[in-house]
Amino acid sequence: MTIATRMSNLPSATRAGWTAEDDPRLALVLSLGDDELMIGHRHSHWTGVAPTLEEDLAFSSLAQDEIGHAAIWYGVAEELTGQDEDTIAFGRQPEEYRHANLLEQEPGDWAYTIARQHVYDLFDHLRLEMLADSGDATIAGVVGPILREERIHRAHARAWLSRLSDGPADGLALVVEGARRVLSQVGGLFETLPWEEELVKDGTLPGLVSSLYQPFVARLTEEYTEFGMADALDALDVAGGLGGRQGTHTAVFEPMWDEMTALFREHPGATW
């Protein structure tokens, strides 16, 4: 896949919004891009206000990586639809986004942020490993660079949980509490997309995303046990946080969408 460079200071014609047509492959690619865009946006909250300078840089970089990955998936969507990347990213109505609802939740406190980053990147890692075997050459092709960068995200989350497990009991208690909140909405990550079974039949998806739930729980149990967080595991809820893949989001998404798309809507055609 290739993406042509666009760089102009001239506003193009007013861009209208966009509604994705009903297409199984497009729905999958949008869910991948939307997940990365939302978690990237929430990570970027910490730029300037993280507890340490290192973490300020870390979350700014994590945000940049995730939004970069979103741009890759929207680039694939661009090939499928002919729409430009920005319109795909910002031109849709809130109910047309297909990300898991866990990822739109406000950053909350540091414990919740770290617990969510760890859970999401573990899930994303398993999903990317599965997509590497996709029968769709474009999808399989872009997975390599993304996976390579994601390794650092996994290392970051594990390092924090390891540090917290070695520290005072109140820090560990906070992260267990944050993890419980995350796990109560974890089901949304594995929620079945519309037409997902068709994608499995035609080989685009090597398996249903929901088939990753058991391996996810196994890995999570292993890691939480290692970090003294096993108490949080009983909050795991495969039926929690559903709706996002179908476009039904929680109350926090509308203000987030409003902020995220304001520039696109108020200055149609604006470029850097």
Partner: protein, 161 residues
């Protein structure tokens, strides 16, 4: 009818000489980002890959590649294509790139660094290996943050991915 012949090697040389805006004077050729330069009819087609997919310098580098190629005699049309399906890795950095990175105060990859492990990276200022990994993230998506226990200087290293 007269036709101008375009010297593809000259174009490649010009493109490879584009400096990374975040780490001058290291060039994109030295970073291993240039995949292909060829003539497509009368259009010069350049294929490049980003170091990190979310790198904010991509648009600037693309514009600089266009200017560099267009400065070569006979070139009128330039098309820059960013390949997102090829994984960049620090092993692609050339010897001269590594030397320039060190001079710029950025430790080149492969000098012993491992994610989140203590020490091993050579300090680009004093050459000591008594260094500390402060964070796997740094001032640009492709860099990590370190500091030297001997000369007390904080420095960046190219991420070992």
């Amino acid at each position: 009818m007269s036709t101008t012949t375009i010297d593809v090697d000259a174009v490649r040389h010009a493109v490879e000489g584009v400096e990374d805006p975040e780490m001058p004077p290291i060039t994109i050729g030295e970073l291993g980002m240039v995949l292909d330069v060829r003539l497509d009819g009368s259009t010069v087609a350049v294929e490049v890959m980003p170091t990190f997919s979310g790198c904010p310098a991509i648009a600037y580098i693309g514009a600089d590649v266009v200017s560099a190629a267009a400065a070569v005699e006979g070139v009128t049309d330039v098309e820059v294509r960013w390949r997102k399906d090829v994984a960049w890795g620090p092993e692609l950095i050339t010897e001269s790139g590594r030397a320039k990175l060190t001079q710029a105060g950025i430790a080149p990859p492969g000098s012993g660094q491992q994610l989140l492990q203590i020490g091993g990276v050579t300090c680009p200022y004093c050459g000591s290996r008594n260094t500390r990994a402060d964070s796997p993230f740094g001032a640009a998506p492709c860099r990590s943050t370190y500091s030297c226990r001997d000369c007390k200087t904080p420095f960046d290293a190219i991420k070992d991915i």
